[in-house]
């Protein structure tokens, strides 16, 4: 009798647990899961100037954050329906792989191993970055190749560390690394003269230099020693969801190319003579339907924070303290690398 009660209790527990597991299985599609939850869980940097940072009221702002908001606007019709999950370089990939976030937009470099071995799908590039050097002008160096024997502040455990070693080896010059942990620490060390030069992504260098008391005393060297295409990524295996994010990003880029801005979008949505604009804005064709969304998905995405150019200008462009030029991130028509495939 006692035994049967125990076995019964075990069986009950088993059935309940089984039911709980079964429940989890039918939310296979990320799109459905996001729409059910009513909120997009977006992994971002816990703090990178211009790309992702909370303001004084706790609202997240930045270049990467804008992509999250655009996707939320496309999928959930509300750019504010985003739960921002701050991630560190160490936790970002497990957060995505385990489903803690639906989408990772965390200045993550697109590399073969991450794409293939870690089983993620990169959905394009929202910022073409590259590794550079900052030096005090007093050092009298005008090219990275003159840095023979220099002490270099370098963040450990990042791709920049490996790029640095490659660069100095290829040019057959020597350097002495000063390992540091965070960007803030690097700024302090560099200003205190613990190293002759500090190397990290050029966008980060620009932001760092902008924070100095006398930015004019420091120069960013012309050499960019690595390719760092930063882009949003999702898990392998849900192509519908990947398509939605990929084409949201493409819509932002294409919107700039075709002159769709957050100010004139209402007007253009009434119909124009340009069929491509009409297709993007959903007045022609069935693009939204194909993606499993409604016709106005791209229009909402663009209205969220503006087109690619507007997002760039607002967060990291030349009018901001960071003051990045468009450079590689200009439209292909302006000599940059941004090239959205056709909406057809």
């Amino acid at each position: 009798m006692k035994k049967s009660v125990f076995v019964g209790a075990l069986a009950t527990a088993g059935v309940i647990a089984g039911a709980a597991f079964a429940q989890m299985d039918d939310s296979d599609s990320t799109l459905a899961a996001v729409q059910d939850a009513g909120v997009l869980k977006c992994g971002v940097n816990s703090g990178l100037t211009g790309f992702a940072a909370p303001d004084a009221n706790g609202r997240w702002e930045g270049f990467d954050v804008a992509v999250c908001r655009a996707v939320a606007a496309a999928v959930l019709s509300d750019p504010e329906a985003v739960e921002f999950v701050p991630t560190t370089p160490k936790t970002r990939f497990t957060a995505l792989a385990s489903g803690e976030v639906d989408l990772l937009v965390r200045n993550t470099t697109w590399t073969l191993t991450r794409d293939v071995d870690l089983k993620f799908t990169f959905l394009g590039v929202n910022y073409y970055d590259g590794q550079g050097f900052i030096v005090p002008k007093a050092l009298g160096v005008s090219s990275a190749k003159e840095l023979d024997g220099a002490t270099v502040c370098i963040q450990t455990g990042t791709t920049t560390e490996l790029n640095l070693a490659d660069f100095f080896r290829v040019n057959n010059i020597s350097y002495e690394p000063v390992p540091i942990e965070t960007n803030a620490e690097a700024q302090q060390q560099y200003l205190a003269g613990a190293c002759d030069t500090y190397t990290t992504d050029a966008s980060g260098l620009a932001a760092t230099r902008a924070s100095f008391e006398n930015p004019g005393d420091h120069a960013i060297l012309p050499e960019i020693i690595s390719k760092e295409p930063l882009g949003p990524l999702v898990r392998h295996g849900d192509d519908e969801w990947a398509d939605i994010v990929r084409w949201t990003l493409n819509a932002l880029i294409a919107a700039e190319e075709f002159g769709i801005t957050s100010t004139n979008i209402e007007e253009l949505a009434n119909g124009t003579d340009n069929p491509e604009i009409n297709r993007i804005l959903g007045t022609e064709g069935t693009m939204g339907e194909m993606l499993g969304l409604d016709a106005e998905w791209a229009m909402r995405a663009i209205m969220a924070e503006g087109n690619y150019g507007e997002i760039f200008e607002k967060n990291i462009g030349e009018s901001t303290p960071i003051g990045l030029a468009r450079g590689l991130n200009a439209q292909w028509t302006d000599g940059g690398l941004l090239y959205a495939p056709p909406f057809r």
Partner: protein, 433 residues
């Protein structure tokens, strides 16, 4: 008769002690200049202290509370013509709420504040047993379930049903113990509440809520941050780890082999692993082990790990106290005919815990400070928030002001804990020395 030339007939009036022996000068002579070597040391120390203060105070004394960005601060400081720059307090003015509460919704911040105030009301009868009526312990008991509800919100039914867990455990103990013996009873008393919490509370609370909706707004763990997060993790881990630690210490001393080796294994394993490893297990490994889609709250995971970590240390501290008790105390308790639990409760633990107070409190202080490690797994505690605040283009480059503010917060908390433990030791010092 001797030939006295002079004999004083009356008492001399009492005179003031010489100025060199009392008052400021006397104190200085006695404490600072009581010999040529000490005088030199004093002068050198004063010069050193002056040099340090001369470097820090002008920097600290900086009227920048209203500045809106680092460059504004620099302008203000430059106008004052300070040589070595000045602190930029504008960042504290703008962000202190964020450093305290993280992203907790502004209109709901009365809830963590109320929880914090309630913490002191709940702790008062425990910490100051003489000054407060014992009836307040009822509030302490209720607070255990009230605090998480206030912090996270949700239907009122959840804390009520969670509170029913121990009651169910007690009922299970009574029934099973009668049917299958005490040991089975104890196991059932542990198992039933856990099964109840894991499997039944959610659905039942949901069902009741759908009939009688009553509750407060839910706040996602993701929004917890700042000093509130440190205190919240710290308090929960401290409270639970004390109980767990005592149980583990007793388990380690136990004659029951399985209990003993389980305790030893647990303590040694946890003490052999750095906290940061456990936190990484909590934040990343658990995610991979659990079925996809499971949403096991990250803060809860961190709390569990911090609690386990602290309880292993507490267990060893308490074991030290147990070992320090003379054997006679154990034998005396046995001679009185007390059973194991009574002997522990009435004779052994009160003395052992008293001996362990300094160790327990330093473990708690250590644990509280260790909560800042959660910044490494992406939770925005005060340390994590400094990174986020610096990412604001206005405040990029600010370091000391933020860390100083956080240091002040932690110092206040840890210093009061340490003072309390000294007071408690003095109060409990009953033996003659």
């Amino acid at each position: 008769m001797a030939d006295y030339s002079y004999v004083r007939k009356e008492m001399l009036p009492e005179r003031e002690p010489p100025a060199s022996e009392v008052g400021v000068i006397g104190w200085l002579r006695e404490n600072l200049f009581s010999g040529w070597f000490n005088s030199i040391l004093t002068v050198v120390s004063v010069v050193l202290i002056y040099l340090i203060l001369a470097a820090i105070v002008p920097w600290l004394w900086s009227p920048t509370w209203g500045a809106g960005s680092l460059s504004e601060c620099r302008d203000i400081v430059a106008e004052l013509g300070k040589e070595h720059g000045g602190a930029c307090y504008g960042v504290i003015t703008e962000r202190w709420q964020q450093l305290l509460f993280g992203f907790y919704p502004e209109e709901l911040r009365w809830r963590p504040i109320l929880t914090f105030v309630g913490l002191f009301v709940a702790l008062a009868p425990v910490l100051f047993t003489d000054a407060f009526p014992r009836k307040m312990l009822w509030f302490t008991g209720a607070y255990l379930f009230l605090a998480p509800w206030l912090m996270w919100g949700g239907p009122i039914w959840t804390p009520l049903l969670v509170a029913a867990g121990p009651a169910l455990g007690f009922v299970a103990f009574r029934f099973v113990a009668r049917a299958a013996g005490t040991l089975a009873g104890v196991i059932a008393a542990g198992l039933v509440p856990i099964l109840w919490w894991l499997l039944a509370v959610g659905p039942v609370a949901g069902a009741i809520q759908s009939v009688v909706p009553l509750g407060i707004e839910l706040v996602e763990s993701r929004l917890f941050g700042g000093f509130m997060l440190s205190v919240w993790i710290g308090v929960v881990a401290i409270a639970i780890s004390l109980v767990l630690g005592v149980v583990l210490a007793l388990g380690r001393q136990s004659d029951l082999m399985i209990v003993k080796y389980l305790s030893v294994g647990f303590i040694e394993f946890i003490r052999g692993v750095p906290l940061i490893t456990l936190l990484f297990v909590a934040s990343t490994l658990l995610n991979i082990f659990m079925p996809p889609g499971t949403n096991f709250d990250i803060i809860l995971r961190v709390m569990i790990m911090a609690t386990l970590f602290a309880s292993a240390y507490i267990a060893e501290v308490v074991r030290g106290g147990l070992a320090a008790l003379p054997r006679g105390q154990y034998e005396a308790a046995d001679a009185l005919g007390l059973d194991y639990w009574k002997a522990q409760r009435l004779v052994i633990l009160p003395q052992a815990l008293k001996i362990s107070i300094p160790g327990i409190v330093s473990t708690f202080i250590g644990l509280f400070k260790d909560t800042t490690l959660v910044s490494i797994i992406g939770l925005l505690d005060p340390i994590g928030l400094t990174g986020s605040i610096r990412a604001d283009a206005n405040w990029n480059g600010i370091v000391w002001e933020l860390y100083g503010f956080i240091a002040l917060l932690f110092f206040l908390s840890c210093f009061s804990m340490s003072r309390y433990s000294m007071w408690l030791e003095k109060k409990l010092r009953t033996e003659h020395r």
